[in-house]
Amino acid sequence: MRQALAAEWTKLRTVSSAAWLVVAVVGCTVLLGSAMTASVDTSQCPSPASCQEDTVRLVLAGVWVGQVAVVVMAVLAVTNEYDTGMIQTTLAATPRRGTVLLAKAAVVTATVLAGGTAGVIGSLAAGRAILPGNGFTEANGYPPLSVTDEPTLRAAGGTVLYLGLVALLGLGLGAAVRDTAGALLGVLTLLYVAPVVAALVGDPAWQARLQKVAPMTAGLAIQATRGLERLPIGPWAGLGVLAAWAGTAMLLGAVVLQVRDA
């Protein structure tokens, strides 16, 4: 296993696109988070103090875009080998297929967690700088963002975990489908289209059900620090739903990898 890990790490770090994708995770997360934070201020509330804005969730919203880079990295880590035919060499080097998948998962997830942490820290720092200027000051009931605050820590750490789980989802689906376009479309549809469709459905009961089950809306519940009772699902339960998706995808991928010809 150690050798497989070393091999997968070498593969990841010797291809320039991987480095760019990590940069994209960090950059997109910070940029979008900052842009969204900057566009929200207290002027649209009757009074600044009565603005029930969840600033932590707002600041961390950059993952909506950052996760795309994670998905691409995770999917390509598997499907690119099928595209180039290198999967044959990989499986010849490490015939235990479960080991291959686990090693890939470990290496990619570790990278994503590292990049995600950087992105989250960057977003929080940017938020700390921007929010007071938009009226979210201590006086109005919005103390500066800090990870010593327990809900903020949960939201921030949970976001990093969220990205790691999204990576596993991409990896698993990539191994199951073995085709770049198909796996990418599948994951992106699951993540992005499900919430939009859920919002358009007329029945509130069904909307809530869909939002509980859709990977992105459930997973991002971990980011909420206010109004938790209005969420369709609790924070950790939501992350659990995403974990279930990721686990299922990985299981599917492992089975396909094990059973099918290379």
């Binding site: 091999a7 070498t10 593969k11 291809v15």
Partner: protein, 308 residues
């Protein structure tokens, strides 16, 4: 090192096509075994089954008595080159070998060794996508040799190599076999294997067609044809025919004789005083021998030009 490749009753079908049908043979150490057959005969499929990439429907492919998938460090036992193009175009050649070395638990220095061995030194720092066909082929070979394995499985290693490259490969294969390794080389071009193959396994339509040493094959096919060049063709033909040989005119001044040894022909012609400028014992090339052997087993053949 006495590791052999052993195939027992291997069978594999894809959909309705039977790719490999009851194949059994052994690849012995210390010699180069040529694995030949027409296009689509099942060579690549067989090699993939040896490497555990495809699962056989029946039968077994064993390396040193074990299935590939249960080998603890497979790259150190079997070095394989299946598809030289199977590299990430954005990754540097050296790094491609590096990850393989890591997977096999080999030290970094080994990468440099094989790079020198296959002559990739000047271009090892280039991205794989920027390498020429021949260079990529050498890269694939380097990967196969990385673990210093006792068994080598090479699918068309000479593909894309220039004439010097082909000469080099022949030498390499011979030296690998001389080390005592079992070398299985597939090709559909006999000329590449001329001079380097010791044993020949031929398949056609998924079935074994021949499993013989090269020497025996050539001996069986050569027959005893002799080419005689003489200005007095008609007289020579009559004379030799009367002596019991089968003669045919194959050129303005050329006669092909079979059924008589060369010395006898020389004696007969000299006796009669017929001048001749050449008496050559015709040695069948591997290609001709093989064509003879597999004439019936060709699956995808174009109609021969000029022949009925």
């Amino acid at each position: 090192m006495s590791t052999t490749i052993e195939l027992r009753d291997l069978r594999k079908r894809y959909g309705r096509t039977v790719a490999v049908d009851g194949l059994s043979f052994t690849v012995a150490p210390g010699e180069v075994t040529a694995f030949v057959g027409p296009n689509g005969a099942g060579k690549s499929t067989t090699m993939r089954m040896i490497l555990g990439l495809d699962a056989p429907d029946e039968g077994a492919a064993l390396v040193g008595g074990q299935r590939y998938r249960s080998l603890p460090s497979p790259l150190r036992v079997v070095g394989a080159l299946l598809d030289a193009g199977a590299v990430h175009p954005g990754r540097r050649a050296r790094d491609h070998l590096l990850w393989m070395a890591r997977a096999a638990g080999l030290p970094r220095g080994r990468v440099e060794e094989v790079v020198e061995l296959v002559g990739l030194g000047p271009v090892a720092g280039r991205r794989a996508g920027a390498l020429s066909l021949g260079m990529r082929q050498r890269l694939g070979l380097a990967g196969a040799l990385l673990g210093d394995p006792p068994v080598l499985v090479l699918d068309e290693p000479a593909n894309g190599l220039d004439p010097q490259g082909i000469v080099w490969i022949r030498g390499l294969l011979r030296s690998l076999a001389a080390d005592g390794r079992a070398v299985l080389v597939s090709s559909h071009l006999m000329s590449e294997l001329e001079g380097s193959a010791d044993h020949l396994v031929a398949i056609g339509r998924g079935r074994l067609v021949a499993d013989t040493s090269v020497r025996d094959l050539l001996a069986a096919a050569s027959g005893d044809r002799v080419v005689v060049r003489t200005a007095q063709r008609t007289e020579a033909m009559t004379l030799l025919a009367n002596a019991g040989a089968t003669v045919s005119a194959t050129g303005r001044e050329v006669v092909t004789v079979s059924g008589l040894p060369a010395e006898r022909i020389v004696a007969l012609l000299s006796q009669r005083g017929l001048a001749f400028s050449e008496v050559a014992a015709h040695r069948a090339s591997l290609e001709e021998a093989y064509m003879e052997l597999t004439r019936d087993a060709v699956e995808f053949g174009a109609p021969a030009t000029g022949e009925a």
